[in-house]
Symmetry: C2
Subunit: 474 residues, 2 copies
């Protein structure tokens, strides 16, 4: 009897598994039909010179899929992920039919590699491309790192960060932002702000999800989301509107699969600072919708009007990312940090642990020392203000350009008056003919008429660079 | 006439898009049916106390899916990815029905966090868990890093690595391995061997793929593959067979979606060194099948019999990963490197660029200095040999254990004679009662009877630790 019972149960499982196999092959057959359709669509688009991407069509499909998931009691995340797989493969198939491909963008990192290549050949360049201050890191930081080295703080340490630095960050949050409730399990020390941003994105979004980013912006957000397989929903701001982001447009951009909104002020590349009221409105909206807000506050020491921070009014879901790179001019130390609810931090820490183990202890001790260097940060900030003022005046003299005065960060982002201006071609010509490097606006979004000038150079260099830009523009 | 042509074309595209929408919703419906089946399977498994994972069933399904893809002309990668999504979601649904869940493993990193927690409370521990040598890093490295700091090598640098270090690595490959053909575009400097391994895995495998790993092994391979959504196919070796991996079993493990084989000798945790003949056979097989070989050679300075290297006979697809952590005892510097064909390196570099930007220049200069420190590496290697010899003798005195003499690396991996031994429970008891930390065997695969002792401690500490282990084992 027992033996018969087992057989029956085994056969019950086997029947279910047979159904699974049949169902799976049926799905595969439909996917093959889908790719045949993609092939035909690719042929039409190639013939008609239509672009592959069509946001409206994709959005409509997503709405349909999620509605169907709702009706069927299927996890919406799964529906969105399957759709994402189908769309990605469909685009690959369409491209194979010859439909137009997006071209390689000249991001600041691509520009840096090109410049280093030219410099290797011995040519001296005026480098206005690199997004880093030229200030020296605080002496106390160098001393702390060197001391730690000779004290053999050169072994593995815990992934989250050493107690000295976590403690110093807690005090910093209290002093700098008036935020006194930070706990150590909300903080993570990362190898640079970039990793804080990547792990933040990877924690809030998965393949098939989307995240809203206001453009123009640092390309690392889209790069991270592309890597994850999540979609970047772009809210564009324009030179004509003074790079002012509209909360209304941010709200309208949110899709049913949206998991987070990225805010980053002062802005790289525009130097814009969002008003506290607009920031609050967006954060409040995100909170109501259960969305996370990722606030990248890396340039907050270079703010020349009141700058919002997520710490002013924390929503339920938030990740603050920052770094020692800019305020302390410690780009090459690769040390940043994040602040988030404990469970979010735990998930970010898992990503860090599996890829990185930990940030070097001697560097963490340098970062802890940096938090005591308020005078140096203030000096850097004042020097940058002077450069913004002077460079703005220089740029205004260039007839072919228009420019808004940066309110913060360490960049200027002028726009050419010529509506047909191609800043990528201009950047290459400028490098070749004048030995000056800039970052084309297309590296930060759809801004071919704009380019970014980094103010991380002495004023004389900036003035010379702008003068040469003016010369080439004629 | 023109206007009518446009309308026709638009309607052609619209018709295709309508078909796409219908097809997509049909797929979603089938996925919902699939999850209903998963729910039923979950109920049966819960009732019968059957495990969720069933490799045989999954393998058969994969074969079916790939065969169907072949028949339909559908990219097999897409089929494998969709299957992976379905399986992952199905398991989630089954777990929700109460089917048994795998428990949290005590990996070396988890153990380290526990130990640091206890140490914070003031208790002094005998730390045999951490996989790092206790040797001091070479003085020349400390000096080079400190000098570079005060020379302000503290700014961004190119992602791949600074020319000084790339050049030094090329010379090192020539001198150490007799490999003279390395090009700079084959090398990448990474923040630790762990990141080299992660980016290697992420470059050869995607969601739905699989990678063969020989166990017991460092958990980072499986952690990376889990993160990517690729499957780890495990080839088990056993204490009884002297941890000897069989090339036959490696070959049998390869599935139609397998993209790579990971080899890592000397082995963490067993200290086994694969014979050159077996290594060559596996690499040759991988080459014939178009698979990549990832060879993690981080312990190659601690090898006490001839140790194979991928450089002896490069297949078409290979990634060598290594680090300064072990040979030079530079774990806390977080600097490693990889060597691969240029196009593979370019893809790995993209991952590094989007997450990390670059490794600190001052650390890279320290790594370049390390490559000149041959005497220190030789001294470390000799000291480790003595510890292996002595600790092996100590372990043999423990009646309850059996142990093979490590052929390399910096660990011993004894097995309890008791077939019911639970090394996780033992590790916790040992920490509590004796203040000694070890890494349970389940952190490295399905080895509950084994545990890892790190030899990165002075002999007196090792002897004391083993004695306390013996005491607790009774």
């Amino acid at each position: 009897m027992v033996s018969r019972g087992v057989e029956e149960r085994v056969s019950e499982l086997q029947d279910l598994r047979d159904e699974v196999a049949e169902n799976t092959l049926d799905i595969v057959k439909l996917v093959a039909v889908r790719m045949d359709l993609a092939r035909k669509i690719g042929q039409v688009k190639t013939r008609e010179s239509l672009p592959i991407d069509n946001e409206r069509v994709e959005d409509a499909l997503l709405e349909d899929v999620l509605a169907e998931c709702g009706r069927l009691g299927l996890d919406k995340q799964v529906g969105a992920k399957i759709l994402s797989t189908l769309l990605a493969e469909s685009k690959k198939v369409q491209r194979a039919q010859g439909a137009s491909q997006p071209k390689q963008l000249i991001t600041p990192m691509v520009m840096m590699a090109k410049a280093k290549e030219v410099e290797k050949g011995g040519r001296k360049l005026v480098r206005l491309d690199v997004g880093e201050p030229d200030f020296r890191p605080p002496k106390a930081v160098l001393d702390a790192v060197s001391k730690a080295l000779y004290e053999y703080k050169t072994y593995y340490t815990v992934g989250r960060g050493i107690p000295e630095l976590l403690g110093a960050l807690k005090s910093y949050l209290a002093k700098r932002y008036g935020y006194k409730d930070a706990q150590e399990n909300q903080l993570i020390v990362t190898p640079g702000g970039r990793f804080a941003v990547y792990s933040a994105l990877a924690t809030v979004a998965s393949e098939g999800d989307s995240v809203v980013v206001i453009e123009p912006n640092w390309p690392a957000y889209k790069e991270g989301l592309d890597y994850i397989g999540a979609k970047t929903i772009t809210v564009k701001t324009s030179f004509e509107e003074g790079w002012e982001p509209s909360p209304e447009r941010v709200k309208e951009a949110v899709r049913p699969n949206t998991k987070a909104i990225v805010l980053s002020y002062p802005s790289n590349p525009t130097g814009k600072i969002m008003s506290k009221a607009a920031f609050k409105e967006i954060v409040g909206y995100a909170d109501d919708r259960g969305l996370a807000v990722i606030s990248d506050e890396i340039y907050n020491d270079y703010a020349y009007k009141p700058c919002p921070t997520i710490l002013d009014d924390l929503p339920k879901r938030y990740i603050l990312t920052s770094s020692f790179s800019k305020g302390w001019s410690m780009t090459g130390f690769r040390v940043g940090w994040s602040f988030a609810p404990p469970e979010t931090s735990a998930r970010m820490l898992k990503v860090l642990g599996l890829m990185i183990t930990c940030v070097p202890e001697f560097i963490q001790l340098g970062a802890a020392a940096a938090l005591g260097c308020e005078a140096e940060v203030a000096r850097n900030s004042m020097a940058m203000k002077e450069r913004i003022d002077s460079t703005y005046e220089e740029l205004r003299k260039v007839e072919a350009l228009e420019v808004h005065k940066p309110e913060g960060a360490i960049y200027a982002f002028p726009q050419a008056k010529d509506p047909g201006f191609d800043s990528s071609a201009f950047a290459m010509e400028l490098l070749e003919k004048k030995g000056v490097t800039i970052s084309p606006g297309t590296g930060f979004g759809d801004y071919p008429r704009c380019f970014r000038i980094s103010l991380g150079q002495p004023q004389a260099v900036l003035t010379e660079g702008v003068r040469k830009i003016g010369e080439l523009l004629g």
